[in-house]
């Protein structure tokens, strides 16, 4: 327990050091922020938008906002939570404008390249790829507020508490949005081919 607390304290200190170096104009500090959180933000933007090109734009714009405002970070939350919040707010405002267009019949875009795991056979990868496409497509049909909870919990691995801080909602709301998002996915996927059982290798 003590070890966990001291790790958290060390992380918080390294967050603040990083931001302090950025504030004093050290370009390596922002590079470090991107190195730590670039993949996480891109993945979030991609899963929320369902479009790899748009995700690249969203990521770049979100990091420009981070570059301009990270100097104001005072360590009230973890830097990771703060970065998530900036990225998520940016996605929301950009995607809300897109929602003004007709889209009920639009097919979600194809998912982009996934990081290749060399330990898997080509057959496994093909099955995983097909399953991934169907899940990605289904995810795009889930209401945004539920999708955010599912993406943050099941794909990005945040805890309920972290999600509550990122979204600025109560724990009970996180739990209910996650449940509704998963339930919606189940309903959508059951209309098509069932997914592989949980115990599949």
């Amino acid at each position: 327990m003590e070890a966990a607390e001291s790790t958290a304290a060390a992380l918080a200190q390294s967050d603040l050091d990083l931001v302090e170096r950025h504030r004093y104009g050290d370009p390596a500090a922002f590079e470090e922020v991107y190195r730590r959180y670039g993949e996480m933000v891109y993945s979030l933007c991609h899963r929320l938008s369902g479009d790899p090109d748009l995700a690249a734009d969203l990521t770049q714009e979100a990091f420009l906002r981070i570059f301009r405002h990270v100097g104001k970070f005072r360590g009230g939350s973890s830097l990771k939570t703060w970065v998530y919040r900036v990225a998520l707010n940016h996605c929301r405002s950009r995607l809300a404008r897109r929602r003004l267009f007709w889209r009920s019949l639009a097919e979600p875009d194809e998912p982009g390249p996934e990081a290749v795991d060399p330990g898997r056979s080509p057959e496994d990868r093909a099955i995983a790829h097909d399953e991934g496409r169907r899940l990605t497509r289904a995810l795009a049909a889930v209401p945004v507020a539920y999708r955010e909870a599912v993406v943050l919990f099941d794909l990005q691995g945040l805890s309920y508490e972290e999600i509550a801080r990122v979204l600025g909602v109560r724990l009970g709301t996180v739990r209910s949005r996650l449940a509704r998002g998963r339930e919606r996915l189940r309903q959508i996927l059951e209309e098509g081919e069932p997914l592989a059982p949980e115990s599949s290798p």
């Binding site: 950025h22 504030r23 004093y24 104009g25 370009p27 590079e31 670039g38 993949e39 891109y42 993945s43 899963r47 790899p52 995700a55 690249a56 990521t59 770049q60 990091f63 420009l64 570059f67 301009r68 100097g71 405002s93 404008r97 929602r99 003004l100 267009f101 007709w102 009920s104 998912p111 982009g112 390249p113 996934e114 990081a115 995983a128 399953e131 991934g132 899940l135 990605t136 889930v142 209401p143 945004v144 507020a145 099941d154 794909l155 709301t173 739990r175 209910s176 949005r177 449940a179 509704r180 998963r182 339930e183 189940r186 996927l189 059951e190 069932p194 997914l195 592989a196 059982p197 949980e198």
Partner: protein, 219 residues
């Protein structure tokens, strides 16, 4: 437990979040209810499938593009340094003038910004609702204080020029049914947040808004 397990109970069960009597309640029901066992099985597949999704790698050029754009940004400290230098090198009299000018400029910016925020709120909140299975035998439907009638597969507001009218999907006047057609509304209404729908004006006019209040929970 005679009632079926809720989505939240099953989701928490999958995450191992249920303990004590709440866990026993769900487990007891699962033993006797095939429906809920089937839902749980589906849910477990969904969660396992999500966990199998691999992280998406950003294109390598993204980092380079970002570095290029960041180089064009003013350095974080430049502004402060310039302000400090300015204050140090300026005699008191012009500092007072500078301060007045700064306050005035801030006031103007604040005024413009508040107008901008007002417009943004309208731009960001609205959602267009897709047309639904309107038509067949549809009579006039009511949403809050407004009445709509079906015409050519669209819902048009009674007494409103159709060129500026909304395309609203309403079923039996129950607002909740809107959700089937515009998924973004559902979470808001579930949480009791009033929703504003944007009405696009095909003639390019300013459009109108229709406020929809959440249906009260069943007693």
């Amino acid at each position: 437990m005679s009632r079926h397990a809720t989505a939240e109970q099953l989701s928490s069960y999958v995450d191992g979040e249920l303990v004590g009597p709440r866990l026993r309640l769900v487990e007891t029901h699962l033993v006797e209810c095939q429906d809920c066992r089937r839902r749980l099985d589906g849910l477990q597949r969904v969660v396992a499938g999500l966990h199998r999704l691999e992280p998406l790698a950003p294109p390598p050029v993204l980092g380079q593009d970002l570095a290029r754009r960041v180089r064009l940004e003013p350095k974080p400290r430049d502004l402060l340094e310039r302000l400090e230098e300015h204050l140090r090198s300026t005699p008191l009299q012009s500092t007072v003038g500078f301060t007045f000018a700064l306050v005035f400029a801030l006031a103007v910016i604040l005024y413009l910004f508040s107008g901008w925020v007002e417009r943004q709120v309208l731009l960001h909140q609205p959602v267009l609702v897709a047309p639904s299975e309107v038509g067949a035998g549809a009579a006039v439907r009511r949403v809050g204080p407004r009445s709509f009638h079906a015409e050519d597969g669209r819902w048009l507001e009674v007494g409103v020029d159709p060129r500026g009218a909304a395309v609203v999907a309403v079923d039996d006047g129950v607002v909740r049914q809107l959700l089937v057609f515009e998924p973004e509304l559902e979470p808001l209404l579930d949480e009791g947040v009033p929703v504003v729908l944007a009405m696009e004006d095909p003639a390019g006019g300013p459009g109108r808004v229709l406020e929809i209040l959440p249906t009260p929970p069943e007693p």
